[in-house]
């Protein structure tokens, strides 16, 4: 979970407000293309390898500048302002902490465990900071975004929520999603104006049904396969005299196939869920109380694009990754929009930047938002 989820700048619904006239909805577009990004991408990877990873911070900046800059609303792109040094410092701090933590864990286990707990304790604070960083290094029309959420909200949205969702086998996942979208949406600012979001739990559960069904189906199939495999092995044990290497191979294959199936079912369910929840949450979000956001991804198409992107990327040994990334960005942007109330020119002539939002006193603490 990063800012990418919450900015009208990227990333991945099917609920629009009926069929609104497209006239007053301004959709985002994506003006980048695969071949142009290919160059940026391969140079990023090459320089990252040559510099033993140090360039990866600058690579991130160039990648984000490309994707933000080509995300266009009303003829103007977004802009990403972080610089490589900021990101490198953040990465080095995370890296140094991990090294220290591991060393302590081996020499003075108690201190190591203490450090680990300390890290857990700081996670909500680090998440909030990371979101603030991502917001503040993003601008549109010379005005930066800002994020004012605190550690308490992050704790609820990114620790309590996921834990609850996991403990209830996903039954409470919509509640967790509601918390995280409310945390991000209600704390996001642009200029001096606020975003507000309140996705209805009923609608979130409405979009949760399909992925839940996919999961249950996947589990049933996997369960059947495991049963079949066990039966096979059982029958092998009975006739241990015969050479049964072939059959054993079959059992192993079946197990492998079963785990791949479960894995992809999880992935597909997550994608369907993600797209559906995004639609619900974005359509329940407004800027400055009047301008409503819109997301109308087709859940099936979104999932298909993600899955086929992965397959194409793997089959081409990564070479089609730039094409895949651009394809996804284009689809998501074209199904994201804002419905402005009143005169757009008027609106943007009033929005100004609060000076405080810019500065080098914050840095990117990525790595701490892993695994959420």
């Amino acid at each position: 979970m990063t800012m990418a989820e919450s900015l009208p700048a990227q990333n991945a619904g099917k609920r629009s407000f009926g069929r609104a006239a497209e006239g007053d909805i301004q959709r985002l577009s994506f003006t980048g293309n695969g071949s142009e990004y290919f160059g940026i991408w391969i140079v990023n990877i090459l320089l990252t390898i040559i510099t033993l990873g140090i360039y990866s911070a600058w690579a991130k900046v160039r990648r984000n500048r490309y994707f933000y800059g080509n995300t266009v609303l009303l003829g103007r792109g977004f802009e990403y302002h972080a610089n490589g040094e900021q990101i490198l410092i953040g990465r080095l701090i995370v890296f140094a902490y991990l090294v220290l933590y591991n060393i302590m864990l081996t020499f003075v286990p108690l201190v190591g465990i203490g450090l680990g707990l300390l890290m857990l304790f700081f996670v909500p604070w680090l998440v909030a900071r990371g979101l603030r960083f991502s917001a503040r290094v993003t601008s549109y029309r010379n005005v930066r975004f800002d994020f004012v959420g605190g550690a308490g909200g992050a704790f609820l949205a990114f620790i309590v929520g996921p834990v609850l969702a996991a403990l209830t086998l996903g039954i409470l996942a919509p509640l967790a999603s509601r918390w995280s979208y409310r945390y991000i949406g209600n704390n996001l600012r642009y200029g001096q104006k606020a975003f507000s979001t309140d996705p209805a739990l009923g609608r979130l559960y409405g979009t949760w049904v399909a992925p839940a069904a996919v999961l249950v189906l996947g589990m049933l199939i996997a369960g059947f396969l495991v049963f079949l495999g066990l039966e096979l092995i059982g029958s092998l044990q009975e006739e241990a005299e015969a050479s049964t290497v072939g059959l054993e191979g079959v059992a192993i294959l079946l197990t492998a196939f079963g785990s791949v199936l479960v894995y992809s079912m999880f992935g597909v369910a997550a994608l369907i869920y993600h797209a559906g929840v995004r639609n619900v949450a974005w359509c329940a979000t407004a800027f400055d109380g009047r301008h409503r956001l819109l997301s109308d991804l087709s859940r099936l198409r979104y999932t298909w694009i993600a899955v086929s992107n992965l397959i194409v990327t793997l089959v081409t040994l990564g070479l089609m990754r730039p094409w895949a990334a651009v394809r996804m960005a284009r689809y998501v942007n074209e199904h994201t929009g804002v419905r402005f109330e009143g005169d757009v020119g008027e609106l943007f002539s009033q929005i100004t930047q609060e000076g405080s939002a810019v500065g080098a006193e914050f840095m990117d603490m990525e790595g701490f938002d892993f695994g959420f």
Binding site: I45, Y68, N142, V143
Partner: protein, 352 residues
């Protein structure tokens, strides 16, 4: 004022902190960079080195930020590049020039693949060796103690072997352990009931060896066979196989993390999973190393080095049906292993 500069590019200008934009043009005038509005008045200006021009990325708009915080944005990247080149600042666009779509990129792809493979095949093993060299002995001790405790609580039971049987094995074990590099003191042998693990033997990185009753029963009266297996496990310890595997996994994860942003979360996930499969192939070569070690130790201790090959044969005939639960699972196929072992014994005899 007289308009006597050269126009560089046209675009939009924002007052500091304002989202309102005015059509404007960027002009070089008397050694300064100036933004002119449509009416020709100066909106902002400054000397070149006080002005920040964003590095070029693809075709996204170029940002020219003035000392007063105002911003000029233009789509005309080429014009800005030409202007900078004229000022001897062409070097700044080097990365962008590398990124342009050009046949040269094919060479970059090849170089990335080559260097990546080089890091994976040589730099990574080297780093693993360095890490093992600097690992203090307390690390494997802690790892092993907690692993043994965990297994005792979950999988293993108390051993039910009779004393005589046990003593025979321990005595032979001492003989082979004293031939090992760590010496007899470096190893402790524990007997356990295998429970779900069935006939099995495994080594923990600090030299703790665990042998299950089921394996002893399987071997019947052939104590040498058991010793062959134990010598194989000693081989795992001597070669630091488990630490190596951990460090390798950490290194592979680090490599994947570094390019994660460029390859997307789906591919990252697949790579991490694939790393697990690669670890499996690594474990096969580790098995071969341990087999060889077994042969050497057994010969040095004056036992029959083919014992371990006999053990594999036994596994093949008796244990086909326990594929998942025997030590058979991660191991190379048996006939091939036997052949290799016999070859080693031959080679060994010649050297003497």
């Amino acid at each position: 004022m007289a308009f006597d500069g050269t126009t560089i590019a046209s675009g939009e200008w924002h007052a500091p902190g304002s989202s309102r934009s005015l059509p404007a043009s960027l002009v070089e005038q008397a050694g300064r960079l100036v933004v002119h509005g449509e009416s020709g008045g100066e909106l902002a200006g400054g000397i070149l080195h006080s002005i920040e021009i964003s590095p070029r990325v693809g075709r996204i708009p170029r940002r020219v930020t003035f000392p007063d915080g105002s911003l000029f944005e233009t789509e005309d990247n080429d014009a800005v590049d030409r202007f900078l080149a004229g000022k001897g600042r062409a070097r700044e666009g080097a990365v962008h020039r590398l990124e342009r779509f050009h046949p040269r990129l094919i060479a970059f792809v090849a170089a990335a693949i080559l260097l990546g493979a080089l890091i994976y095949r040589s730099a990574l093993p080297l780093l693993v060796e360095v890490a093992i060299a600097v690992t203090p002995p307390v690390v494997p001790n802690i790892m092993s103690a907690s692993a043994l405790e965990t297994m005792d609580r979950t999988l293993l039971d108390k051993s039910k072997l009779d004393e005589a049987r046990r003593n025979r094995i321990v005595e032979g074990f001492r003989r082979i352990a004293s031939q090992s590099a760590r010496g007899e003191a470096g190893y402790t042998l524990h007997f356990r009931g295998g429970g779900a693990l069935g006939p099995n033997a495994f080594a923990l990185p600090d030299g703790t060896l665990i042998l299950t009753d089921e394996l002893v029963e399987l071997a019947g009266e052939d104590t040498e066979m058991i010793l062959g297996v134990l010598a194989h496990e000693i081989g795992h310890v001597e070669h630091n196989h488990s630490l190596r595997q951990i460090y390798r996994a950490a290194g592979v994860t680090a490599l994947i993390m570094l390019v994660a942003g460029d390859i997307g979360s789906g591919v990252e996930e697949v790579l991490v999973q694939g790393g697990g499969l690669l670890a499996l192939s690594y474990s096969r070569s580790a098995e071969a190393e341990a087999d060889r070690h077994s042969v050497e130790l057994m010969m040095k201790a004056g036992f029959d080095p083919t014992a371990i090959a006999r053990f594999f044969e036994l596994l093949e005939t008796k244990l086909d049906d326990r594929g998942g639960a025997s030590i058979f699972s991660t191991h190379p196929s048996t006939p091939e292993r036997r052949k290799v072992i016999l070859d080693w014994i031959g080679a060994f005899d010649e050297r003497k």
